[in-house]
Protein backbone atom coordinates (compact mmCIF):
# COMPACT_ATOMS: atom_id res chain seq x y z
CA UNK A 1 0.00 0.00 0.00
CA UNK A 2 3.00 2.25 0.70
CA UNK A 3 3.85 2.43 -3.00
CA UNK A 4 0.25 2.58 -4.13
CA UNK A 5 -0.34 5.72 -6.25
CA UNK A 6 -3.89 5.91 -4.80
CA UNK A 7 -2.56 6.09 -1.26
CA UNK A 8 -3.12 9.84 -1.20
CA UNK A 9 -6.80 9.46 -2.02
CA UNK A 10 -7.08 6.63 0.49
CA UNK A 11 -5.70 8.94 3.14
CA UNK A 12 -7.88 11.95 2.31
CA UNK A 13 -11.28 10.25 1.82
CA UNK A 14 -13.92 11.83 4.08
CA UNK A 15 -14.95 8.39 5.31
CA UNK A 16 -13.47 5.71 7.54
CA UNK A 17 -11.32 3.50 5.28
CA UNK A 18 -9.60 0.41 6.63
CA UNK A 19 -7.87 -2.64 5.14
CA UNK A 20 -8.73 -5.89 6.93
CA UNK A 21 -6.98 -9.24 6.76
CA UNK A 22 -8.78 -12.57 6.92
CA UNK A 23 -8.89 -12.37 10.72
CA UNK A 24 -10.62 -9.01 10.31
CA UNK A 25 -7.59 -7.39 11.84
CA UNK A 26 -7.01 -3.81 10.70
CA UNK A 27 -3.75 -3.67 8.84
CA UNK A 28 -4.11 -0.14 7.55
CA UNK A 29 -6.44 2.82 8.25
CA UNK A 30 -6.82 6.25 6.70
CA UNK A 31 -6.32 9.58 8.35
CA UNK A 32 -9.99 10.09 9.29
CA UNK A 33 -10.14 6.70 10.96
CA UNK A 34 -6.94 7.29 12.88
CA UNK A 35 -8.16 10.67 14.03
CA UNK A 36 -11.45 9.38 15.37
CA UNK A 37 -10.52 5.89 16.57
CA UNK A 38 -6.81 6.25 17.45
CA UNK A 39 -4.44 3.32 17.65
CA UNK A 40 -5.59 0.29 15.67
CA UNK A 41 -2.46 -1.77 15.60
CA UNK A 42 -3.24 -5.47 16.03
CA UNK A 43 -6.96 -4.85 16.67
CA UNK A 44 -9.93 -6.22 14.79
CA UNK A 45 -12.58 -4.01 13.25
CA UNK A 46 -15.31 -5.25 15.59
CA UNK A 47 -13.15 -4.46 18.64
CA UNK A 48 -12.64 -0.87 17.57
CA UNK A 49 -15.93 -0.09 15.85
CA UNK A 50 -18.34 -2.04 17.97
CA UNK A 51 -16.39 -2.58 21.18
CA UNK A 52 -17.15 -6.28 20.80
CA UNK A 53 -15.00 -9.28 21.53
CA UNK A 54 -16.75 -11.44 18.92
CA UNK A 55 -17.28 -10.92 15.24
CA UNK A 56 -20.52 -9.18 14.21
CA UNK A 57 -23.34 -11.19 12.77
CA UNK A 58 -23.80 -10.78 9.08
CA UNK A 59 -20.38 -9.14 8.76
CA UNK A 60 -20.02 -7.71 5.22
CA UNK A 61 -16.20 -8.13 5.27
CA UNK A 62 -16.57 -11.83 6.02
CA UNK A 63 -19.09 -12.16 3.22
CA UNK A 64 -16.70 -10.43 0.84
CA UNK A 65 -13.88 -12.81 1.84
CA UNK A 66 -16.29 -15.66 1.26
CA UNK A 67 -17.78 -14.75 -2.13
CA UNK A 68 -15.40 -12.10 -3.53
CA UNK A 69 -18.29 -9.66 -3.96
CA UNK A 70 -18.85 -6.19 -2.55
CA UNK A 71 -21.28 -6.02 0.33
CA UNK A 72 -22.85 -3.29 2.34
CA UNK A 73 -25.00 -2.72 5.38
CA UNK A 74 -25.92 -0.17 7.96
CA UNK A 75 -24.19 -0.36 11.31
CA UNK A 76 -24.33 1.27 14.67
CA UNK A 77 -20.99 2.27 16.11
CA UNK A 78 -19.58 4.33 18.93
CA UNK A 79 -17.82 7.44 17.70
CA UNK A 80 -14.74 9.14 19.14
CA UNK A 81 -16.89 11.15 21.55
CA UNK A 82 -18.40 7.97 22.91
CA UNK A 83 -21.79 8.63 21.27
CA UNK A 84 -23.83 6.13 19.38
CA UNK A 85 -23.61 6.83 15.67
CA UNK A 86 -24.68 5.23 12.39
CA UNK A 87 -22.60 4.33 9.39
CA UNK A 88 -23.15 2.92 5.98
CA UNK A 89 -20.52 0.22 5.37
CA UNK A 90 -19.22 -1.09 2.03
CA UNK A 91 -16.64 -3.81 1.70
CA UNK A 92 -14.56 -4.47 -1.41
CA UNK A 93 -12.19 -7.41 -2.05
CA UNK A 94 -8.45 -6.91 -2.57
CA UNK A 95 -6.81 -9.78 -4.42
CA UNK A 96 -3.10 -10.72 -4.87
CA UNK A 97 -1.49 -11.43 -8.21
CA UNK A 98 -2.76 -14.99 -8.05
CA UNK A 99 -6.31 -13.73 -7.74
CA UNK A 100 -6.69 -14.80 -4.14
CA UNK A 101 -8.52 -12.45 -1.83
CA UNK A 102 -6.04 -11.58 0.84
CA UNK A 103 -7.65 -8.41 2.18
CA UNK A 104 -10.87 -6.45 2.20
CA UNK A 105 -11.21 -2.72 2.04
CA UNK A 106 -13.91 -1.51 4.41
CA UNK A 107 -15.39 1.96 3.81
CA UNK A 108 -17.73 3.36 6.48
CA UNK A 109 -19.55 6.66 5.97
CA UNK A 110 -21.01 8.39 9.00
CA UNK A 111 -24.74 8.80 8.23
CA UNK A 112 -25.78 9.81 11.74
CA UNK A 113 -27.02 13.25 10.65
CA UNK A 114 -28.88 11.80 7.65
CA UNK A 115 -30.41 9.25 9.98
CA UNK A 116 -31.49 11.99 12.39
CA UNK A 117 -33.00 13.99 9.52
CA UNK A 118 -34.82 10.91 8.27
CA UNK A 119 -36.26 10.38 11.74
CA UNK A 120 -37.31 14.02 11.95
CA UNK A 121 -38.98 13.82 8.54
CA UNK A 122 -40.78 10.66 9.57
CA UNK A 123 -41.96 12.29 12.82
CA UNK A 124 -43.11 15.44 11.01
CA UNK A 125 -44.92 13.41 8.39
CA UNK A 126 -46.65 11.46 11.13
CA UNK A 127 -47.64 14.65 12.93
CA UNK A 128 -48.99 16.19 9.72
CA UNK A 129 -50.87 12.99 8.96
CA UNK A 130 -52.36 13.07 12.44
CA UNK A 131 -53.28 16.74 12.05
CA UNK A 132 -54.80 16.06 8.61
CA UNK A 133 -56.81 13.17 9.98
CA UNK A 134 -57.94 14.51 13.32
CA UNK A 135 -58.46 18.24 12.77
CA UNK A 136 -62.15 19.06 13.39
CA UNK A 137 -62.83 20.31 9.87
CA UNK A 138 -63.06 18.88 6.37
CA UNK A 139 -59.78 18.57 4.44
CA UNK A 140 -59.33 17.06 1.03
CA UNK A 141 -56.73 16.97 -1.72
CA UNK A 142 -58.20 17.26 -5.21
CA UNK A 143 -56.77 16.74 -8.67
CA UNK A 144 -57.50 19.03 -11.64
CA UNK A 145 -60.59 16.93 -12.49
CA UNK A 146 -61.91 17.80 -9.01
CA UNK A 147 -61.54 14.21 -7.95
CA UNK A 148 -60.86 13.87 -4.25
CA UNK A 149 -57.63 11.89 -3.98
CA UNK A 150 -57.31 12.22 -0.21
CA UNK A 151 -59.92 12.97 2.43
CA UNK A 152 -59.50 13.32 6.15
CA UNK A 153 -61.45 11.30 8.72
CA UNK A 154 -64.18 13.89 9.36
CA UNK A 155 -64.83 14.24 5.63
CA UNK A 156 -64.92 10.46 5.09
CA UNK A 157 -67.33 10.07 8.02
CA UNK A 158 -69.78 12.73 6.81
CA UNK A 159 -69.66 12.20 3.04
CA UNK A 160 -69.87 8.87 1.27
CA UNK A 161 -67.59 7.66 -1.52
CA UNK A 162 -64.40 9.42 -0.38
CA UNK A 163 -61.71 9.42 -1.50
CA UNK A 164 -62.39 8.69 -5.14
CA UNK A 165 -65.54 10.63 -5.96
CA UNK A 166 -65.65 14.12 -7.45
CA UNK A 167 -66.19 16.89 -4.93
CA UNK A 168 -69.42 18.25 -6.41
CA UNK A 169 -70.96 14.77 -6.47
CA UNK A 170 -69.84 13.91 -2.96
CA UNK A 171 -70.77 17.24 -1.34
CA UNK A 172 -73.64 18.56 -3.41
CA UNK A 173 -75.03 15.48 -5.17
CA UNK A 174 -74.63 17.47 -8.38
CA UNK A 175 -73.83 16.11 -11.83
CA UNK A 176 -71.81 19.18 -12.84
CA UNK A 177 -69.20 21.31 -11.03
CA UNK A 178 -70.48 24.26 -9.01
CA UNK A 179 -70.46 27.74 -10.56
CA UNK A 180 -68.25 29.40 -9.50
CA UNK A 181 -65.90 26.65 -8.32
CA UNK A 182 -63.18 27.84 -5.92
CA UNK A 183 -61.06 24.74 -6.57
CA UNK A 184 -60.98 25.53 -10.31
CA UNK A 185 -60.17 29.15 -9.53
CA UNK A 186 -57.17 28.03 -7.46
CA UNK A 187 -56.00 25.68 -10.21
CA UNK A 188 -56.32 28.63 -12.61
CA UNK A 189 -54.54 31.40 -10.71
CA UNK A 190 -52.67 29.66 -7.89
CA UNK A 191 -54.35 31.88 -5.30
CA UNK A 192 -56.30 31.05 -2.18
CA UNK A 193 -60.05 31.28 -2.75
CA UNK A 194 -62.95 31.18 -0.38
CA UNK A 195 -66.65 30.47 -0.61
CA UNK A 196 -69.55 29.39 1.51
CA UNK A 197 -71.42 26.28 0.42
CA UNK A 198 -74.38 24.31 1.64
CA UNK A 199 -73.45 20.66 1.38
CA UNK A 200 -75.60 17.60 1.92
CA UNK A 201 -74.03 14.95 4.13
CA UNK A 202 -74.54 11.25 3.53
CA UNK A 203 -77.06 11.36 6.43
CA UNK A 204 -79.04 13.91 4.44
CA UNK A 205 -78.23 16.86 6.75
CA UNK A 206 -77.66 20.28 5.26
CA UNK A 207 -74.22 21.51 6.33
CA UNK A 208 -73.12 25.13 5.94
CA UNK A 209 -69.42 25.04 5.14
CA UNK A 210 -66.89 27.84 4.79
CA UNK A 211 -64.47 26.56 2.14
CA UNK A 212 -60.87 27.63 1.46
CA UNK A 213 -58.82 26.28 -1.42
CA UNK A 214 -55.03 26.59 -1.68
CA UNK A 215 -52.59 25.30 -4.30
CA UNK A 216 -50.28 22.33 -3.66
CA UNK A 217 -47.22 22.76 -5.88
CA UNK A 218 -44.71 20.08 -6.92
CA UNK A 219 -40.91 20.52 -6.97
CA UNK A 220 -41.18 22.33 -10.31
CA UNK A 221 -43.74 24.77 -8.95
CA UNK A 222 -46.57 23.23 -10.95
CA UNK A 223 -50.02 22.98 -9.35
CA UNK A 224 -50.89 19.31 -9.57
CA UNK A 225 -53.36 19.35 -6.68
CA UNK A 226 -55.24 21.73 -4.46
CA UNK A 227 -56.00 21.37 -0.80
CA UNK A 228 -59.54 22.23 0.23
CA UNK A 229 -60.32 23.05 3.84
CA UNK A 230 -63.92 23.33 4.99
CA UNK A 231 -65.19 24.53 8.36
CA UNK A 232 -68.66 23.48 9.43
CA UNK A 233 -70.42 26.74 10.32
CA UNK A 234 -73.93 25.29 10.47
CA UNK A 235 -74.33 26.17 14.14
CA UNK A 236 -73.15 29.73 13.53
CA UNK A 237 -75.64 30.11 10.70
CA UNK A 238 -78.40 28.66 12.88
CA UNK A 239 -77.50 31.10 15.64
CA UNK A 240 -77.51 33.95 13.13
CA UNK A 241 -80.89 32.85 11.92
CA UNK A 242 -82.15 32.75 15.50
CA UNK A 243 -80.75 36.20 16.17
CA UNK A 244 -82.44 37.48 13.02
CA UNK A 245 -85.66 35.86 14.21
CA UNK A 246 -85.15 37.47 17.57
CA UNK A 247 -84.71 40.86 15.93
CA UNK A 248 -87.82 40.31 13.85
CA UNK A 249 -89.81 39.10 16.82
CA UNK A 250 -88.79 42.13 18.86
CA UNK A 251 -89.87 44.35 16.00
CA UNK A 252 -93.12 42.41 15.66
CA UNK A 253 -93.75 42.55 19.41
CA UNK A 254 -93.00 46.23 19.45
CA UNK A 255 -95.47 46.84 16.62
CA UNK A 256 -98.07 44.62 18.28
CA UNK A 257 -97.66 46.32 21.65
CA UNK A 258 -98.02 49.76 20.08
CA UNK A 259 -101.32 48.69 18.52
CA UNK A 260 -102.49 47.10 21.77
CA UNK A 261 -101.60 50.19 23.80
CA UNK A 262 -103.49 52.40 21.36
CA UNK A 263 -106.55 50.16 21.60
CA UNK A 264 -106.29 50.05 25.42
CA UNK A 265 -105.90 53.80 25.52
CA UNK A 266 -108.98 54.05 23.31
CA UNK A 267 -110.90 51.87 25.76
CA UNK A 268 -109.78 54.01 28.67
CA UNK A 269 -110.79 57.16 26.76
CA UNK A 270 -114.26 55.78 26.10
CA UNK A 271 -114.64 54.66 29.74
CA UNK A 272 -113.55 58.04 31.11
CA UNK A 273 -115.57 60.16 28.71
CA UNK A 274 -118.54 57.79 29.07
CA UNK A 275 -118.46 58.35 32.84
CA UNK A 276 -117.97 62.11 32.45
CA UNK A 277 -120.82 62.41 29.97
CA UNK A 278 -122.94 59.90 31.86
CA UNK A 279 -123.14 57.96 28.60
CA UNK A 280 -123.57 54.31 29.67
CA UNK A 281 -123.37 52.91 26.13
CA UNK A 282 -120.03 54.63 25.56
CA UNK A 283 -118.77 53.46 28.95
CA UNK A 284 -119.73 49.84 28.20
CA UNK A 285 -118.20 49.99 24.75
CA UNK A 286 -114.96 51.32 26.26
CA UNK A 287 -114.92 48.69 28.98
CA UNK A 288 -115.28 45.90 26.40
CA UNK A 289 -112.37 47.39 24.48
CA UNK A 290 -110.26 47.31 27.64
CA UNK A 291 -111.25 43.70 28.40
CA UNK A 292 -110.65 42.55 24.84
CA UNK A 293 -107.22 44.12 24.68
CA UNK A 294 -106.16 42.79 28.05
CA UNK A 295 -107.04 39.31 26.71
CA UNK A 296 -104.91 40.05 23.64
CA UNK A 297 -102.00 41.11 25.83
CA UNK A 298 -102.32 37.90 27.84
CA UNK A 299 -102.40 35.76 24.70
CA UNK A 300 -99.42 37.54 23.27
CA UNK A 301 -97.41 37.03 26.45
CA UNK A 302 -98.30 33.32 26.59
CA UNK A 303 -97.36 32.87 22.94
CA UNK A 304 -94.09 34.67 23.50
CA UNK A 305 -93.29 32.55 26.52
CA UNK A 306 -93.85 29.43 24.49
CA UNK A 307 -91.73 30.75 21.65
CA UNK A 308 -88.98 31.90 23.99
CA UNK A 309 -88.77 28.56 25.78
CA UNK A 310 -88.52 26.55 22.56
CA UNK A 311 -88.86 23.49 24.69
CA UNK A 312 -89.01 19.77 24.12
CA UNK A 313 -92.56 18.56 24.91
CA UNK A 314 -93.05 17.27 28.45
CA UNK A 315 -94.88 14.11 27.55
CA UNK A 316 -97.62 12.55 29.63
CA UNK A 317 -100.48 10.29 28.68
CA UNK A 318 -103.55 12.46 28.26
CA UNK A 319 -107.14 11.70 27.24
CA UNK A 320 -107.64 13.51 23.93
CA UNK A 321 -111.40 13.79 24.42
CA UNK A 322 -111.11 15.54 27.80
CA UNK A 323 -108.55 18.08 26.52
CA UNK A 324 -110.66 18.89 23.44
CA UNK A 325 -113.87 19.23 25.47
CA UNK A 326 -112.18 21.48 27.98
CA UNK A 327 -110.98 23.80 25.21
CA UNK A 328 -114.44 23.76 23.59
CA UNK A 329 -116.14 24.65 26.88
CA UNK A 330 -113.84 27.64 27.36
CA UNK A 331 -114.04 28.87 23.77
CA UNK A 332 -117.78 28.38 23.29
CA UNK A 333 -118.56 31.35 25.55
CA UNK A 334 -116.27 33.60 23.57
CA UNK A 335 -117.91 32.64 20.24
CA UNK A 336 -121.48 32.84 21.48
CA UNK A 337 -120.86 36.24 23.10
CA UNK A 338 -120.24 37.79 19.68
CA UNK A 339 -123.03 35.89 17.96
CA UNK A 340 -121.03 33.09 16.38
CA UNK A 341 -122.45 29.56 16.46
CA UNK A 342 -120.27 26.96 18.13
CA UNK A 343 -120.63 23.20 17.76
CA UNK A 344 -118.42 20.27 18.60
CA UNK A 345 -118.47 16.64 17.55
CA UNK A 346 -116.10 14.67 19.67
CA UNK A 347 -115.63 10.94 19.35
CA UNK A 348 -116.01 9.51 22.86
CA UNK A 349 -113.62 6.68 22.02
CA UNK A 350 -110.74 8.78 20.83
CA UNK A 351 -108.47 7.35 23.51
CA UNK A 352 -105.20 8.66 24.89
CA UNK A 353 -102.12 10.20 23.39
CA UNK A 354 -98.65 10.94 24.75
CA UNK A 355 -98.33 14.70 24.57
CA UNK A 356 -97.50 17.89 26.43
CA UNK A 357 -100.97 18.79 27.69
CA UNK A 358 -100.23 22.52 28.12
CA UNK A 359 -98.78 22.76 24.63
CA UNK A 360 -101.66 20.86 23.02
CA UNK A 361 -104.20 23.01 24.87
CA UNK A 362 -102.38 26.12 23.65
CA UNK A 363 -102.38 24.75 20.08
CA UNK A 364 -106.14 24.05 20.14
CA UNK A 365 -106.98 27.42 21.74
CA UNK A 366 -104.93 29.19 19.05
CA UNK A 367 -106.77 27.40 16.24
CA UNK A 368 -110.21 27.96 17.74
CA UNK A 369 -109.47 31.63 18.41
CA UNK A 370 -108.36 32.00 14.81
CA UNK A 371 -111.62 30.44 13.64
CA UNK A 372 -113.68 32.78 15.83
CA UNK A 373 -111.67 35.79 14.62
CA UNK A 374 -112.14 34.71 10.99
CA UNK A 375 -115.92 34.75 11.57
CA UNK A 376 -115.89 37.97 13.62
CA UNK A 377 -114.29 40.04 10.87
CA UNK A 378 -116.36 38.52 8.07
CA UNK A 379 -119.16 40.92 7.13
CA UNK A 380 -120.29 39.00 4.05
CA UNK A 381 -122.39 36.31 5.69
CA UNK A 382 -125.47 36.55 7.85
CA UNK A 383 -124.57 33.71 10.20
CA UNK A 384 -121.32 32.19 11.29
CA UNK A 385 -120.42 28.82 12.74
CA UNK A 386 -117.28 27.35 14.25
CA UNK A 387 -117.28 23.56 14.32
CA UNK A 388 -114.80 21.44 16.27
CA UNK A 389 -114.26 17.75 15.58
CA UNK A 390 -112.09 15.04 17.16
CA UNK A 391 -111.55 11.55 15.76
CA UNK A 392 -109.33 8.69 16.87
CA UNK A 393 -107.39 6.37 14.56
CA UNK A 394 -105.19 3.39 15.51
CA UNK A 395 -101.91 5.32 15.48
CA UNK A 396 -103.01 8.95 15.60
CA UNK A 397 -105.80 11.39 16.42
CA UNK A 398 -107.22 14.15 14.26
CA UNK A 399 -108.53 17.41 15.61
CA UNK A 400 -110.49 19.59 13.20
CA UNK A 401 -111.46 23.25 13.48
CA UNK A 402 -113.79 24.50 10.79
CA UNK A 403 -115.28 27.95 10.28
CA UNK A 404 -117.23 29.80 7.62
CA UNK A 405 -115.35 33.06 8.15
CA UNK A 406 -113.29 35.11 5.72
CA UNK A 407 -111.16 32.18 4.50
CA UNK A 408 -107.72 32.42 2.96
CA UNK A 409 -106.44 32.76 -0.56
CA UNK A 410 -103.49 30.72 -1.79
CA UNK A 411 -100.86 33.24 -0.69
CA UNK A 412 -102.22 33.48 2.84
CA UNK A 413 -102.51 29.68 3.05
CA UNK A 414 -98.86 29.28 2.03
CA UNK A 415 -97.63 31.87 4.52
CA UNK A 416 -99.99 30.96 7.33
CA UNK A 417 -97.34 29.19 9.42
CA UNK A 418 -94.65 31.81 8.86
CA UNK A 419 -93.38 33.66 11.87
CA UNK A 420 -94.92 37.17 12.17
CA UNK A 421 -97.34 36.59 9.35
CA UNK A 422 -100.84 37.65 10.28
CA UNK A 423 -103.90 38.19 8.15
CA UNK A 424 -105.97 39.21 11.13
CA UNK A 425 -106.44 42.84 10.37
CA UNK A 426 -103.89 44.11 12.87
CA UNK A 427 -105.07 42.13 15.88
CA UNK A 428 -102.66 39.27 15.23
CA UNK A 429 -99.04 39.07 16.23
CA UNK A 430 -98.10 36.48 13.63
CA UNK A 431 -97.13 34.10 16.40
CA UNK A 432 -100.24 31.97 16.98
CA UNK A 433 -100.18 29.68 13.95
CA UNK A 434 -96.40 29.64 13.86
CA UNK A 435 -96.35 28.35 17.43
CA UNK A 436 -99.25 25.96 16.85
CA UNK A 437 -97.39 24.44 13.93
CA UNK A 438 -94.23 24.23 16.01
CA UNK A 439 -96.11 22.41 18.76
CA UNK A 440 -97.59 19.95 16.25
CA UNK A 441 -94.14 19.31 14.74
CA UNK A 442 -92.56 18.92 18.19
CA UNK A 443 -95.03 16.07 18.72
CA UNK A 444 -94.24 14.52 15.34
CA UNK A 445 -97.56 15.76 13.98
CA UNK A 446 -98.71 18.28 11.37
CA UNK A 447 -101.38 20.85 10.64
CA UNK A 448 -103.14 20.89 7.27
CA UNK A 449 -105.06 23.89 6.01
CA UNK A 450 -108.02 23.66 3.66
CA UNK A 451 -109.37 27.09 2.94
CA UNK A 452 -111.08 29.19 0.34
CA UNK A 453 -111.33 32.96 0.34
CA UNK A 454 -114.74 34.22 1.52
CA UNK A 455 -115.94 30.67 2.17
CA UNK A 456 -114.10 29.47 5.23
CA UNK A 457 -111.28 27.42 6.60
CA UNK A 458 -110.72 23.92 7.91
CA UNK A 459 -107.60 23.20 9.97
CA UNK A 460 -106.76 19.54 10.55
CA UNK A 461 -104.28 18.71 13.29
CA UNK A 462 -102.86 15.21 13.03
CA UNK A 463 -101.00 14.03 16.14
CA UNK A 464 -99.42 10.59 16.59
CA UNK A 465 -100.49 8.73 19.72
CA UNK A 466 -96.80 8.34 20.57
CA UNK A 467 -94.39 10.96 19.19
CA UNK A 468 -91.33 9.41 17.51
CA UNK A 469 -88.16 9.58 19.64
CA UNK A 470 -86.43 11.65 16.95
CA UNK A 471 -88.61 14.69 17.67
CA UNK A 472 -88.78 14.48 21.43
CA UNK A 473 -85.24 13.57 22.44
CA UNK A 474 -82.97 16.22 21.01
CA UNK A 475 -83.34 19.79 22.26
CA UNK A 476 -84.43 22.08 19.50
CA UNK A 477 -81.72 24.36 18.16
Amino acid sequence: MADNPYKHYFEMMPAYLTILDRDLRIVEANQRFRQDFGDYEGKCCYQINQHRSERCENCPAERTFRDGQSHGNEEKFTNSLGNEAFSLVYTTPIANDAGQITHVMRMATDITEIKLLQNQIRDSRERYRQLFEEVPCYISIQDPNLRIVEANRRLREDFAGLPGDKCYRAYMHRAEPCVPCVAKQTFGDGQVHQSEEVMTSSRGDQVNVLVYTAPVRDAQGQIKHIIEMGTDITQIRQLQSQLTSLGLIISSISHGIKGLLTSLDGGVYLVNTGLAKNDRARFEQGWKMVERNITRVRRMVLDLLYYAKDRVPELETIPAQAVAEEVCEVMRGKAVEIGIGFRWEIDKNTGNLDADSKAIRSLLVNLVENAIDACRVDKKKAAHLVRIGLKGYPDHIEFEVEDNGIGMDEEIRERAFSLFFSSKRGSGTGLGLFISNKIAQAHGGEIKIESELNKGTRMIVKLPRKPPASVTEAPKV
Binding site: H255, L261, S263, D265, G267, Y269, Q285, R425, G426
Partner: protein, 126 residues
Protein backbone atom coordinates in the same frame (compact mmCIF):
# COMPACT_ATOMS: atom_id res chain seq x y z
CA UNK B 1 -122.62 78.14 7.11
CA UNK B 2 -120.46 75.08 6.26
CA UNK B 3 -121.06 71.88 8.24
CA UNK B 4 -118.44 70.12 10.36
CA UNK B 5 -115.31 68.84 8.64
CA UNK B 6 -115.26 65.12 7.94
CA UNK B 7 -112.38 62.77 8.76
CA UNK B 8 -111.99 59.31 7.20
CA UNK B 9 -110.29 56.91 9.62
CA UNK B 10 -108.51 54.04 7.86
CA UNK B 11 -107.29 51.31 10.22
CA UNK B 12 -107.69 47.53 10.20
CA UNK B 13 -108.24 47.45 13.95
CA UNK B 14 -111.83 48.04 14.99
CA UNK B 15 -110.91 49.29 18.48
CA UNK B 16 -108.60 51.94 17.07
CA UNK B 17 -111.24 53.10 14.61
CA UNK B 18 -113.75 53.36 17.45
CA UNK B 19 -111.22 55.28 19.55
CA UNK B 20 -110.32 57.81 16.88
CA UNK B 21 -113.90 58.16 15.76
CA UNK B 22 -115.05 58.96 19.31
CA UNK B 23 -112.10 61.27 19.95
CA UNK B 24 -112.62 63.29 16.75
CA UNK B 25 -116.38 63.28 17.32
CA UNK B 26 -115.78 64.86 20.73
CA UNK B 27 -113.70 67.51 18.97
CA UNK B 28 -116.64 68.36 16.73
CA UNK B 29 -115.67 66.52 13.59
CA UNK B 30 -117.73 64.09 11.57
CA UNK B 31 -116.09 60.73 10.98
CA UNK B 32 -116.35 57.71 8.77
CA UNK B 33 -114.35 54.46 8.95
CA UNK B 34 -112.66 52.06 6.56
CA UNK B 35 -110.92 48.75 7.36
CA UNK B 36 -108.37 48.87 4.57
CA UNK B 37 -107.23 50.82 1.53
CA UNK B 38 -109.86 49.25 -0.72
CA UNK B 39 -112.77 50.27 1.47
CA UNK B 40 -111.26 53.72 1.95
CA UNK B 41 -111.06 54.30 -1.83
CA UNK B 42 -114.74 53.36 -2.21
CA UNK B 43 -115.70 55.84 0.48
CA UNK B 44 -113.61 58.64 -1.01
CA UNK B 45 -115.24 58.10 -4.40
CA UNK B 46 -118.67 58.29 -2.78
CA UNK B 47 -117.95 61.28 -0.55
CA UNK B 48 -114.44 62.75 -0.34
CA UNK B 49 -113.45 63.59 3.25
CA UNK B 50 -111.59 66.70 4.43
CA UNK B 51 -108.79 64.64 6.01
CA UNK B 52 -107.68 61.02 6.18
CA UNK B 53 -105.96 59.25 9.08
CA UNK B 54 -104.15 56.23 7.68
CA UNK B 55 -102.65 53.11 9.23
CA UNK B 56 -99.80 51.51 7.26
CA UNK B 57 -99.88 47.78 8.07
CA UNK B 58 -103.18 46.50 6.78
CA UNK B 59 -104.10 43.33 4.93
CA UNK B 60 -105.57 43.36 1.41
CA UNK B 61 -104.68 46.90 0.41
CA UNK B 62 -101.87 48.32 2.55
CA UNK B 63 -101.62 51.93 3.66
CA UNK B 64 -98.64 52.52 1.38
CA UNK B 65 -100.48 51.41 -1.76
CA UNK B 66 -103.50 53.43 -0.79
CA UNK B 67 -101.34 56.50 -0.07
CA UNK B 68 -99.70 56.32 -3.48
CA UNK B 69 -103.03 55.96 -5.29
CA UNK B 70 -104.48 58.98 -3.52
CA UNK B 71 -101.38 61.09 -4.05
CA UNK B 72 -101.24 60.56 -7.81
CA UNK B 73 -104.97 61.05 -8.35
CA UNK B 74 -105.76 64.62 -9.32
CA UNK B 75 -109.18 64.38 -7.72
CA UNK B 76 -107.93 63.46 -4.23
CA UNK B 77 -104.30 64.58 -4.00
CA UNK B 78 -105.27 67.74 -2.08
CA UNK B 79 -106.79 65.77 0.83
CA UNK B 80 -104.39 65.96 3.79
CA UNK B 81 -103.28 62.59 5.13
CA UNK B 82 -102.11 61.88 8.68
CA UNK B 83 -100.25 58.56 8.92
CA UNK B 84 -101.02 56.87 12.25
CA UNK B 85 -98.81 53.81 12.64
CA UNK B 86 -96.73 51.71 15.00
CA UNK B 87 -94.17 51.24 12.25
CA UNK B 88 -90.98 53.28 12.65
CA UNK B 89 -90.96 56.98 11.75
CA UNK B 90 -88.54 56.10 8.95
CA UNK B 91 -91.73 55.09 7.18
CA UNK B 92 -92.41 58.78 6.59
CA UNK B 93 -89.28 59.10 4.46
CA UNK B 94 -89.86 55.68 2.93
CA UNK B 95 -93.37 56.48 1.75
CA UNK B 96 -92.33 59.58 -0.17
CA UNK B 97 -88.92 58.45 -1.41
CA UNK B 98 -90.07 55.14 -2.77
CA UNK B 99 -92.88 56.43 -4.88
CA UNK B 100 -91.64 59.96 -5.59
CA UNK B 101 -94.74 61.39 -3.99
CA UNK B 102 -94.94 64.16 -1.37
CA UNK B 103 -94.54 63.14 2.28
CA UNK B 104 -97.72 62.87 4.34
CA UNK B 105 -98.93 66.10 5.91
CA UNK B 106 -98.95 64.55 9.35
CA UNK B 107 -97.32 61.60 11.09
CA UNK B 108 -98.42 60.29 14.48
CA UNK B 109 -96.83 57.26 16.12
CA UNK B 110 -98.76 54.60 17.96
CA UNK B 111 -99.40 54.53 20.85
CA UNK B 112 -100.90 57.89 20.02
CA UNK B 113 -100.73 60.98 22.13
CA UNK B 114 -104.31 62.29 22.20
CA UNK B 115 -103.36 65.95 22.33
CA UNK B 116 -100.81 65.51 19.58
CA UNK B 117 -103.19 63.86 17.12
CA UNK B 118 -105.95 66.39 17.86
CA UNK B 119 -103.46 69.25 17.36
CA UNK B 120 -102.23 67.81 14.05
CA UNK B 121 -105.74 67.28 12.75
CA UNK B 122 -106.95 70.67 13.96
CA UNK B 123 -104.06 72.54 12.32
CA UNK B 124 -104.60 70.72 9.01
CA UNK B 125 -108.33 71.42 9.02
CA UNK B 126 -108.12 75.11 9.87
Amino acid sequence: MPGPKRILIVDDEQDIRTYLSTLFGDEGYETSEARDGGEALQQIQAAPPDLITLDISMPEKSGIRFYREIRIDERWKHIPIVVVTGVSEDMKTFISSRHQVPAPEGFVSKPIDREEIVDVVRSLLK
